[in-house]
């Protein structure tokens, strides 16, 4: 099970090269997102769309809140 982290961990991991992924829909992502995050909506997440990510670096997923 993926490790749950807080925002300080997010800042540290991103500095070390981790990739931020917002999994909400495009409309919500376009309105506001965490700087540097890319958008892969959960509904479209599959082996093909995950190719946008670099498997050599960790990935951090987030949505709006504790959903």
């Amino acid at each position: 099970m993926p490790t749950v982290i807080d925002r300080r961990d997010v800042q540290q991991l991103v500095q070390q090269g981790a990739q931020l992924v917002e999994v909400l829909g495009a409309k919500e992502y376009e309105a506001e997102h965490i700087p540097g995050a890319i958008n892969i909506p959960l509904k479209t997440l599959n082996r093909a769309t995950a190719k946008r990510l670099d498997s050599r670096h960790p990935v951090i997923t987030y949505c709006h809140d504790n959903q």
């Binding site: 749950v4 997440l45 990935v59 709006h64 504790n66």
Partner: protein, 151 residues
């Protein structure tokens, strides 16, 4: 939602972490944001930062002396990490000078998160029936104070 995405990505071979508190937590902490709505003014942009504060154990008389007789601003009670513990209306500083501040404070004042849009403030002021509100991060740390007509 992010848990399902995290598990899926882990299945696909990635090392995955999950920021469970999500962007609501990020923005509430006053951290930067990107996107077409990112430039909209937020309460953190207009909050007064230079606000009178006190510790809960201070005596009312000492605080009154420190602030001076002309003070009309509410006093914000904070701990050593600037986490808000309460709010004291300026008129409450007329209480017994030997009373500790914690005895005259409201321990549950209304707080806004820094990312609340300025345009949304009036509705909250009306709903809560208040003239001013504290702005705090999601950790409760004081950012500042906004008045009903700050916008």
């Amino acid at each position: 939602m992010s848990s399902r995405a995290a598990s899926r990505l882990q299945d696909l071979g990635f090392t995955v972490y999950r920021y469970q508190a999500g962007k609501a937590d990020w923005f509430a902490a006053g951290l930067p944001r990107e996107g077409k709505d990112a430039g909209m003014p937020r309460v953190a942009d207009i909050a007064a930062r230079e606000v009178p504060t006190a510790r809960p154990e201070e005596k009312v008389g000492d605080v009154r002396k420190r602030l001076g007789t002309g003070n009309v601003e509410p006093l914000i009670v904070v701990d050593a990490d600037r986490v808000v513990l309460g709010l004291v209306a300026s008129e409450s500083l007329n209480a017994d000078p030997q009373s500790p501040i914690e005895d005259v404070m409201d321990p549950a004042p209304v707080t806004f998160r820094p990312n609340l849009r300025v345009g949304e403030m009036p509705a909250y002021f009306k709903k809560e029936g208040i003239q001013h509100a504290l702005v705090t991060t999601s950790d409760g740390v004081l950012v500042g104070l906004v008045h009903q007509h700050s916008e």
